[in-house]
């Protein structure tokens, strides 16, 4: 067992659930109630998610091997086609399916409630699958080489837009089902007081998801009508601002879901609890309030939108959403530090960290996700989203360099980490090859970090994103990039291959566990980590919630890196031509 029952930190739940007879089981490991109906859909969505991850992953390795100039694998049509495929399968189909699984899981299990509606869950699931299959066929048939953003007036096959609309509607049904579950849990009094923090975070994600999906519909429906000839055209500027209401806001859904998963794994692996419920919840609230202006990040060098609009919106109204992430970036490791110190691991600044359950891939995946997201994704995100600095970043490889350490090194890695609990607890199957499981988050995390560093710095040399040939061979005016850019593209290629290895290893391990793993039904989950008995005896005051010197040092290093990179970019900007 994990440390949770060993420590007895999970108190018995007092209120009765609202489950139908026989439709609930108590988890042998955690004692949490698992709704049978909900668990079925958690499994379906998780399996679908992994299938789309596989499709996107095959795309990923092909793309990495194409943009690595020494390999340059695909031809131009297939490069742009696979790029379209990769973006949609990863950013939409894999992530959304996993998020619906998370919503169903936390909504029912943590609130001790049944799922609101099985019929709605079926409808949502089938729409999401059908839509995704339609989109993938439209792409692979070569009729929709428009990349994920499908910027008008680039024209895709009508099925492409229709498929995305179906996925969005299906996902919306899943979100509605989650809200329905919140409603019946409250109505039936399945829990006392306020909802747990993880449910609160998931609710924030769900609220943002509704706004996101409505933007998606607002952009995609006119594009669809235009593609079938029912509309004359769609204004490109309007389309960009509306599409990015989907495109960037969905990333805030991912951030919310990821942070919730961080708190969840922190509790499951070391029994951590939030330092202050008020602070954590307040930070989620800031996400909801200020994230809806994020589409500005993609329009910072656009015509037709003014500087004041750009400055206010790109900063999420004075960086209040960035503040929220910086708060989580402190409270998440701090809650781990407090929990570990409370167990007696309090030697020096980082004794709590070295003694953490690193043999548990859920923990190592979560902590790597936290570090990669914070140092990589967070810092680059704010810098690239600074209105004027964006002049040196727009549409260069700096942009995908940024989001591969947010949504891949951050969100995807956190979801992978959660799987190391999800499969044993919900599928009730044990992972085989536990050494490989322990290595997997590291392979993936290190690979994606190298990949993003290479990408980001190649972008700093000016290398464009979504571009087949950095040599421009055959172009009217020969041009190219500094040799440093080629070194960085090589690093990107190598990192991409390592990350893809970690990704395929993950899929292989999940498939092996789900289909061939040893059943742990009736016995409970085999622990990932046996806690070594605390180095020292716990003393009064060890659980002092404010004694987090290690975390203060870590966040101090973070802030210093942030400040240096931020001002370095202003310096670089001041060296280019004057422009207004």
């Amino acid at each position: 067992m994990t440390t949770i029952t060993a420590d007895g930190v999970l108190p018995a739940r007092t209120p009765a659930g609202n489950h139908l007879a026989g439709a609930v089981r108590s988890c042998e490991t955690t004692g949490l109630p698992l709704c049978a109906v909900s668990s079925r859909f958690v499994r379906w969505h998780a399996v679908a998610a992994v299938v789309f991850l596989l499709i996107g992953g095959i795309g990923a390795i092909l793309l990495a091997l194409t943009r690595w100039p020494a390999v340059h694998l695909l031809n131009p049509p297939w490069y742009y086609r696979v790029l379209t495929l990769h973006g949609l399968n990863m950013l939409i189909f894999w992530i959304l399916n996993f998020e619906v699984a998370i919503l169903y899981f936390v909504g029912t299990t943590l609130l001790n409630s049944r799922l609101y509606s099985a019929a709605l869950a079926w409808a949502g699931f089938l729409l999401m699958i059908a839509g995704a299959i339609i989109v993938d066929i439209a792409i692979l048939s070569g009729t929709s080489d428009v990349l994920m953003t499908s910027y008008v007036p680039l024209l895709a096959h009508p099925a492409f837009y229709l498929g995305i609309i179906l996925v969005a509607v299906g996902c919306l049904l899943g979100v509605i089902n989650f809200f329905g579950t919140l409603y019946i849990a409250k109505r039936d009094g399945t829990y006392e007081g306020s909802v747990p923090l993880v449910v609160f975070g998931a609710t924030a994600a769900a609220i943002i998801a509704v706004v996101t999906l409505l933007h998606g519909a607002a952009a995609m429906i006119p594009a669809f009508l235009w593609s079938v000839g029912l509309m004359d055209g769609v204004d490109p500027s309007w389309y960009r601002s509306t599409w990015w209401g989907l495109g960037h806001m969905s990333q805030q859904v991912n951030v919310c879901a990821m942070v919730s998963v961080w708190y969840l794994i922190g509790t499951l692996s070391v029994g951590s609890k939030p330092l202050s419920e008020t602070v954590c919840r307040g930070a989620f609230l800031l996400y909801i309030l200020f994230i809806n202006v994020a589409s500005a990040h993609h329009l910072l060098t656009d015509p037709g939108v003014g500087a004041a609009w750009k400055i206010w919106n790109t900063s999420y109204a004075m960086y209040l959403a960035v503040l929220a992430s910086m708060v989580h970036g402190f409270t998440v490791p701090a809650s781990i530090e407090v929990a570990m110190r409370g167990k007696g691991f309090r030697r020096g600044l980082f004794g709590w960290l070295t003694a953490a359950p690193w043999k548990n891939p859920a923990f190592s995946g979560f902590f790597l996700s936290l570090v990669i997201f914070g140092f990589g994704g967070g810092i680059t995100g704010v810098v690239l989203g600074t209105q004027q600095i964006n002049i040196m970043a727009h549409n260069t490889l700096r942009i995908p360099g940024h989001f591969h350490v947010t949504v891949v090194g951050g969100t995807t890695l956190a979801f992978m980490a959660l799987t190391y609990y999800l499969v044993p607890l919900v599928f009730r199957r044990e992972f085989p090859a536990r050494v490989l499981c322990r290595l997997q988050p590291w392979i993936f995390g290190i690979g994606i970090t190298l990949f993003a560093i290479g990408m980001s710095f190649a972008g700093s040399y000016g290398v464009p994103r979504r571009h087949w040939d950095v040599e421009f061979s055959g172009a009217l005016f020969a041009t190219g990039f500094d040799s440093g850019a080629h070194v960085m593209l090589g690093l990107m290629g190598i990192g991409g291959v390592i990350a893809a290895t970690g990704l395929f290893l993950y899929i292989a391990l999940v498939v092996a566990a789900v289909f061939f793993g040893r059943s742990n039904a009736g016995a409970g989950m085999e622990p990932w980590h046996t806690e070594r008995s605390g180095g020292e005896v716990a003393r009064p005051g060890d659980e002092d919630e404010h004694h987090t010197p290690g975390t203060l040092v870590l966040t101090g290093i973070f802030l210093l890196s942030f400040v240096v990179y931020y001002f370095a970019n202003w310096k670089w900007l001041s060296d280019v031509w004057h422009v207004r």
Partner: protein, 178 residues
């Protein structure tokens, strides 16, 4: 526990290290926010988004008039046009070229009008790495002052179909005043 309902009295003001960190983070957020309006007024590099509605046909006509009256040479079959210092210049983005080649003078200021007659394009000036979005139907006006001389490339960094990676152009900047 993050997975259980909090105690009734969970609402409390932050304290200790957490409070310190929130304070530091807020100050940093404010610094970053103020930096942008500051740079708008005192910095030399801004994207103001100045733009005017224009039909592709009308913009094409303006580009052609500009090229006819300002042509100073030709390179690889592409006309070179030199706008008057302080004057307007026109640059057309289309699949898959930047038309024409512009010849500018270092230290002079120009209003460069850029638009597309087909798809969206990305104006990416290399090796300076300055990037602006170009949309059909919008005349994007960049008021530019070159601060260095030499031969600069324009590449397209917004996907515009199968020949996207072949779409390059040139801006030539001469050292002395005319």
């Amino acid at each position: 526990m993050s997975i259980h309902s909090p105690p009734e009295d969970w609402f409390e003001a932050p304290s200790g290290a957490e409070r310190v960190w929130i304070g530091i983070a807020m100050i940093w957020c404010l610094v970053m926010f103020i930096a942008m309006p500051y740079w708008y007024f005192f910095g030399k590099q801004n994207s103001t988004g100045e733009a005017y509605r224009v039909t592709p046909a009308a913009f094409s006509a303006r580009v052609n008039t500009f090229v006819e009256s300002h042509k100073v040479g030709e390179v690889k079959g592409m006309p070179i046009a030199e706008p008057a210092p302080g004057g307007d210049a026109y640059l057309l983005a289309r699949m898959w070229q930047w038309y024409p080649v512009l010849k500018l003078r270092k230290g002079q200021t120009y209003r460069i009008h850029i638009s597309s007659t087909d798809l969206q394009h990305g104006f990416s000036l290399q090796p300076l790495n300055m990037n602006f979005q170009i949309l059909p139907g919008y005349d994007h006006v960049l008021t530019i002052t070159p601060t260095s001389a030499g031969e600069f490339s324009i590449v397209c960094n917004e996907f515009c179909g199968i020949g996207h990676h072949l779409m390059t152009g040139q801006i030539l900047v001469e050292e002395q005043a005319p």
